[in-house]
């Protein structure tokens, strides 16, 4: 079947984003502090090769690449839904303090688990982060509410305050750990994919799929919410119910990402704003955001670990370097 012009126009962004994600993943698998020829990487992925090469490719590079794709995609979908339900293109799980709250939760969880004999499970870690994220959402909401209604203009300010609070709590919590733990935690807090494991990837995939499916299922409601709460209500949307579910799903996505990779900012801000220029309707915006977010974070991670190789920059620093100027551009355009 020959695609129509309209079909091309609608399909092209998806094809390009998928290509970009695949390219970023390929580079991420091929590049590292230890040089391995491409054919050996491919062979190792298929299960043949010497033990050290197999270990590096299958136990380090592959999980790290997959985690980068999933975390980037999850953060982008989280940002997309937060923007729609807060009717604010500047919303982002990082700027709203959701990621900070999740980090607090994850840290409390791991501090409690350290003293337990079994250790943290890869599925329980994200749940602790999720509780932290929900607490942050509740706090931001309380701070930004005027007479029971969320005031859009106060939202980011409230997010800044909750972020500051989360940072303070994190610093207090860190003082409980020993020096080694603290170093590891600080690197994780700044956003890093260095701790990627197979189990972590599986956990992230489960949470990303669950959160993503819920949000895609809310697409029609998210579309209507971009017209404002009152209009969405008169278009037949159960506004409060939709918002509650979407908040939970967005928090879950951000929390799972934080539990695996720490606080990575601006992916959730940048990606949806770019995607909305070429795609409409939240089914498409969410799916395309996932692909673009995956490509962006995988590529950022390649940059983070090669630019000063053999030492590594936190990938959160790379995304902030890209995201902060973009945020200023968006802010200026809005006023």
């Amino acid at each position: 079947m020959i695609p129509t012009a309209r079909g091309w126009r609608r399909g092209l962004p998806f094809a390009l984003a998928a290509l970009a994600a695949a390219a970023a993943a390929a580079v991420s698998l091929l590049v590292g502090s230890i040089r391995i020829p491409p054919e050996k990487v491919v062979a190792a992925l298929l299960g043949s090769g010497d033990v050290p090469t197999l270990a590096i490719v299958r136990e380090i590079r592959l999980p790290r690449t997959l985690l980068g794709l999933l975390v980037g995609g999850a953060l982008a979908m989280s940002g997309t839904s937060l923007q729609a339900l807060l009717q604010n293109p500047l919303a982002d799980p990082f700027l709203l303090g959701v990621s900070g709250g999740a980090a607090c939760g994850a840290l409390v969880g791991s501090l409690l688990a350290v003293s337990s004999p079994t250790g943290p499970s890869v599925l329980v870690g994200p749940m602790a982060a999720f509780l932290g994220a929900l607490a942050a959402v509740a706090l931001v909401g309380a701070g930004a509410s005027v007479r029971g209604r969320l005031d859009r203009n106060r939202l980011l300010l409230s997010g800044v305050v909750v972020n500051a609070l989360a940072s303070a709590v994190l610093l207090f919590l860190l003082s409980f750990g020993n020096a080694d733990q603290t170093r590891g935690f600080v690197f994780w807090m700044l956003g890093s994919l260095a701790g990627a494991t197979r189990d972590g990837v599986v956990s992230m995939a489960i949470y990303a799929a669950a959160g993503g499916l819920v949000l895609v299922g809310l697409s029609r409601s998210l579309d209507a919410l971009t017209l404002g709460d009152d209009t969405a209500f008169t278009l037949g949307i159960s506004v409060e119910r939709t918002k509650r579910i979407a908040y939970v799903a967005a928090s879950l996505l951000a929390a799972a990402a934080v539990a695996q990779a720490g606080i990575i900012g601006f992916v959730g801000l940048l990606v949806p704003n770019a995607v909305r220029l070429v795609a409409r309707g939240h089914v498409r915006v969410l799916l395309l955001s996932f692909l673009v977010g995956a490509a962006l974070l995988a590529a950022s991670d390649v940059f983070a670990r090669t630019v000063f190789s053999p030492s590594e920059v936190a990938v959160g620093a790379v995304t902030a370097l890209l995201g902060a100027p973009a945020f200023l551009v968006l802010l200026r355009r809005r006023s």
């Binding site: 923007q83 729609a84 009717q87 604010n88 293109p89 007479r147 895609v216 299922g217 697409s219 029609r220 579309d223 209507a224 971009t226 017209l227 404002g228 009152d230 209009t231 969405a232 209500f233 008169t234 278009l235 037949g236 949307i237 159960s238 909305r276 220029l277 409409r280 309707g281 939240h282 089914v283």
Partner: protein
């Protein structure tokens, strides 16, 4: 728009925002086939009354029913297929073409993923034609003038093909030609058996479009009646505190102008 019965009954209805009473003791009957204009100063309760009728606000006391059922108890999706609502102002924040914006008016007919079908596209196209905005269907609403945007938003409501239209200042920001166009659209909807209730500060629009007018002052209805009996010079002067001149056109509709009398 196969309008069955439409009958709004308001009995001693009051509404409050927090502690402030925005509307008190309103009695009103509204029925199919008519255009009703709400007139009054800023803060007189016009928008509040429209929100009550849309179910966005529950009465703090009194009784408000549509065809015998309290408006708040209607199922959301059914209500959305019967009642269209245009809010007073809206600032579009995300990129969207006029057509995409108007298609959102079909939300109550769409599936879970929000994909419009051929009949939704047809309804959106018709609605764009009606407000003379089809020519810029693919332009981004954020880059339109206030008047163009206003017509696109009106199209969004019209695309829902509801029996009831509740419009908060549909003629705001419009040039004379398009104000006249809005008047025609409202008359046509009523002629097709719909009920149109709208608020406006444009007295010429109210005079040309309405069958009945409701005069509001400080949250109370001060007068209701057929346009030619109610839109009088004395009533308008009292309502707005500005001298008004009203004459009668050959068609029996009032011709209104303000500040035409002695200053002060």
């Amino acid at each position: 728009m196969a309008a069955g019965s439409i009958r709004y009954l308001l009995r001693n209805v009051s509404a409050t925002y927090g502690r402030r009473e925005a509307l008190s003791g309103v009695d009103l009957d509204l029925a199919k086939g008519e255009v009703v204009a709400l007139l009054g100063e800023n803060g007189s309760g016009k928008s509040t009354l429209l929100k009550l009728l849309a179910g966005l606000l529950a009465p703090s006391s009194g009784r408000l029913t549509l065809d015998g059922r309290p408006v708040g108890e209607l199922a959301r999706r059914d209500a959305a297929r019967r009642i269209g609502y245009l809010p007073q102002s809206f600032e579009p924040l995300f990129p969207a073409s006029a057509l995409e914006m108007v298609l959102l008016g079909r939300t109550a007919y769409l599936g879970l993923l929000g994909a419009p079908r051929a009949n939704d596209h047809a309804a959106a196209r018709r609605a764009l034609e009606e407000t003379d905005t089809a020519a810029f269907a693919s332009r981004d609403v954020r880059e339109m003038s206030g008047g163009e945007r206003q017509r696109v938003f009106l199209s969004r409501v019209l695309a829902g093909e509801t029996d009831v239209l509740l419009l908060d200042e549909p003629a705001a920001n419009l040039d004379p030609r398009h104000r006249f166009l809005v008047v025609r659209v409202l008359r046509r909807r009523a002629a097709a058996g719909g009920l149109v209730v709208f608020s406006t500060h444009e007295l010429d629009v109210a005079a040309a479009a309405a069958d009945r007018v409701v005069l509001l002052r400080e949250g109370r209805v001060v007068d209701i009646g057929p346009v030619r009996d109610t839109l009088t010079a004395e009533a308008l002067t009292r309502l707005f505190g500005v001298p008004a001149i009203v004459s009668m056109s050959p068609s029996g509709r009032p011709l209104v102008s303000l500040a035409g009398g002695e200053p002060g």
